[in-house]
Symmetry: C2
Subunit: 448 residues, 2 copies
């Protein structure tokens, strides 16, 4: 009944005061802060974990590159991650490398040799949760990944534990700092995407390969993790509908503003119930018009915020730093203390929970709302013609704004909620109509 949660072997613990040996894989922005804080606050961690945490080594691909760093000074650097992991005096492996294939191999090797793992790697967890959970369960060890979603903001723990007695219906939020920084800057300056992107890059908010952020894949990994935790169902990144922010224009922001909205890249995870009472899970990431009065609208710069709706708890919000070396290290260190405590005293954290095993909803069946920005012919009867197209697809309209332009009219339509597939078909039909000169943009709405 609860196979995924049950360790086949039970570790009774090493006993109070025993040292926990820690291997750190990766020594970038996060790894270097993790090491620094572990050494600086060693006494506090010993109290909290029940025994001293001793760093056995820090694995990097190129030892020379880290000459003169703290890890070098302490003689901890090695380029042999596999040997470090397999050392008998290593109990716990911390993976902060990034990427998927190489860390996957290392994490699996660690779990299979009975080491608990703490990772900040959202892409790895979202892509291979099943394999990792099975390896952890088979060995009776822990897999912690609080830092994989929204860095220092506690959300994995609250979903796994604090809300374990409730039924979650929705998780929605801003989970990517880079895109929020860009959209917030576009909103406050009126500048276009390319200029703001260049400025964000200059300020260090953009990764070497920006596509994971701006195409929404990073947020989609987090959505998969959140949906899995919230709905006790295995959801991978491939199950998440994903649309990035690269097509958002200054004009889109401007139109949103004039209608009382701002545009945010939201991750939205929902438990859907159809008319027959059948449940399914939807997870999606896309630019979203959010009313300015909604708390998510005022989440600015690179901050993250996550809403959780649960049947008994009602609506909760978690807000804070969703990225950066120190905030990510905070989450990693919290997991290190938790996993170490289990090594010392025995016990295991809740593992993957997939008992509900709900189907993933077809994106076409998900209820959404559209804001459609079109240029249309400026003549009598156009509005009637176009509203008939909406009606023919069963779409009712919430607001219609018309702005006169030279030689054409601009029509801004906000729909009521409808099936995504019907909305999408409506836009296709509109685009084929002679009266519609151009569909400038289609952006979904949420939060009303």
């Amino acid at each position: 009944m609860t196979e995924q949660q049950n360790p086949s072997t039970f570790n009774p613990g090493k006993g109070a005061g025993s040292a926990v040996g820690v291997a750190i894989l990766g020594y970038g922005t996060v790894g270097s802060q993790v090491l620094r804080l572990m050494l600086e606050n060693a006494d506090e961690f010993a109290h909290r974990a029940g025994g001293p945490l001793e760093v056995r080594g820090v694995a990097v691909s190129n030892v020379e590159k880290h000459n003169g760093t703290l890890a070098d000074e302490k003689g901890l650097l090695t380029n042999d991650a596999r040997s470090l992991i397999s050392r008998d005096d290593v109990d716990l492996v911390v993976e902060v490398i990034g990427g998927i294939d190489y860390p996957r191999e290392l994490v699996l090797a660690a779990l299979r040799s009975g080491k608990s793992v703490v990772t900040a790697n959202k892409a790895l967890v979202a892509a291979h949760s099943a394999e990792l959970a099975e390896a952890a369960d088979a060995a009776g060890v822990d897999l912690y990944f609080e830092a994989a979603v929204a860095a220092a903001i506690p959300v994995v723990g609250p979903l796994r534990r604090s809300l374990a007695g409730d039924r979650i219906t929705k998780v929605a939020g801003i989970v990517n700092g880079t895109t929020n920084f860009i959209l917030d800057a576009m909103d406050s300056t009126g500048a276009n995407y390319e200029d703001v992107f260049a400025e964000a890059d200059r300020l260090g908010y953009v990764e070497a390969d920006p596509s994971a952020d701006v195409e929404g894949h990073d947020a989609a990994s987090k959505a998969a993790i959140l949906a899995s935790l919230a709905f006790h169902t295995r959801v991978t990144a491939d199950d998440v509908y994903c649309e990035g922010i690269t097509k958002i224009s200054a004009a889109d922001i401007d139109v949103a503003k004039s209608a009382g909205y701002t545009i945010k890249l939201l991750a939205i995870c929902e438990r859907l119930v159809d008319d027959s009472g059948n449940e399914s899970v939807s997870a999606r990431v896309h630019p979203t018009l959010v009313p300015r009065s909604h708390p998510l609208a005022s989440v600015n710069k690179s901050f993250n915020a996550i809403f959780v709706e649960a049947e008994a708890a009602g609506r909760l919000m978690f807000y804070g730093n969703g990225a950066g070396g120190n905030p990510t290290a905070s989450a990693v260190l919290g997991d290190i203390v938790g996993a170490s405590r289990n090594k010392v005293f025995g016990g295991r954290a809740p593992g993957e929970s997939t008992y509900a095993n709900l189907p993933i909803a077809d994106f076409g069946d998900v209820p959404t709302r559209y804001h459609i920005d079109m240029n249309v012919e400026d003549r009598v009867g156009v509005l009637a013609e176009l509203t008939q197209i909406f009606a023919a697809h069963g779409i009712s309209l919430r607001t219609v704004r018309q702005e006169e332009q030279e030689q054409s009219a601009r029509l801004l339509v906000i729909t009521h909620t409808a099936r995504e597939a019907d909305l999408s078909a409506t836009v296709a039909a509109l685009a084929e109509t002679d009266a519609v000169l151009n569909v400038n943009s289609v952006i979904r709405l949420a939060g009303e």
Copy 2:
């Protein structure tokens, strides 16, 4: 070194699939929702806990009073709490009675007989944390109390676990729904305290004995719990400086508004460091002027919100329903699942952690800021005379506003940060000065 955290006995767990017997003490707003949800969602809880949760009984003081309720229908009611607790098939005791002395006896009896305890009782935990933690440790069982602070908002868990790898410097927030409802209504309607209180009472927001809420004692209990968790130091309700909202007038709200502030009852817990680097802990509850642009200012109705500042994580906020049967039940049920899981699989939740054992700061030494509203003589030289009194006490002023009135002037002063004792002495000196006709109100500021 870690005595408080180490179980002297270690429970290896009953094994996957084993039933966990639960006794519920109390059947009011919270207890009835806990029972209902446990029965309605029994399958889900069994998956999450690793075995079925079976309610063995619900103890109440008067069985007849609950005729026809769900507990009665299921034959669960008993007026013999002690016998229920001591049943061999009870593994876990849920205390949702309220009060201190009687639940203290029952909770101690449960812990001493090896039963884990889940309680929503902030007054009990804040008054007797040491005794309860020692009993839990001696028996190697769990004491959970997520619901004791801010109901469904996960904050005990995040402080105990997610932030266990960080150093928390401050926890501040709105932790009492009743007083926030009253202050929010005063702010939005301009009505006075008595009228808003009567309306809140009519709407069911006020307890039979309102003093715990409006005098700040409920918030002080929560502040004690938050400070203990955040600073790994035992802080009891008696250590918390406490001032309620009963003296807040419509005039105070009005003055605050005109200066860009709103008034909130805040619980503020800080780790203070003096010039010699000595650390201490301060916890206090008092009405506080908060700038309207601060996120806490927009926490309206009976909602709660808690800010946490930590060295690596930066600033985090948690927001949601801080009271009510269902939100409180959500937190209790999350704890029930956690404690049950430990019964099934072994392991223990982190217990009381008091290793830091920091001294409680004298309230006079705590840095605060004042907003002072006075009527003063309307003559040349008064302002100079009064500002000299501030200067003599080492207090510098941030803003001074003067409003002409009939036959006197009204002086509204906001100070910079100073020692509470110096500010307090300044106000005493002002009150004794002939030029000051009346000190209308003194309210502290925070959040700038």
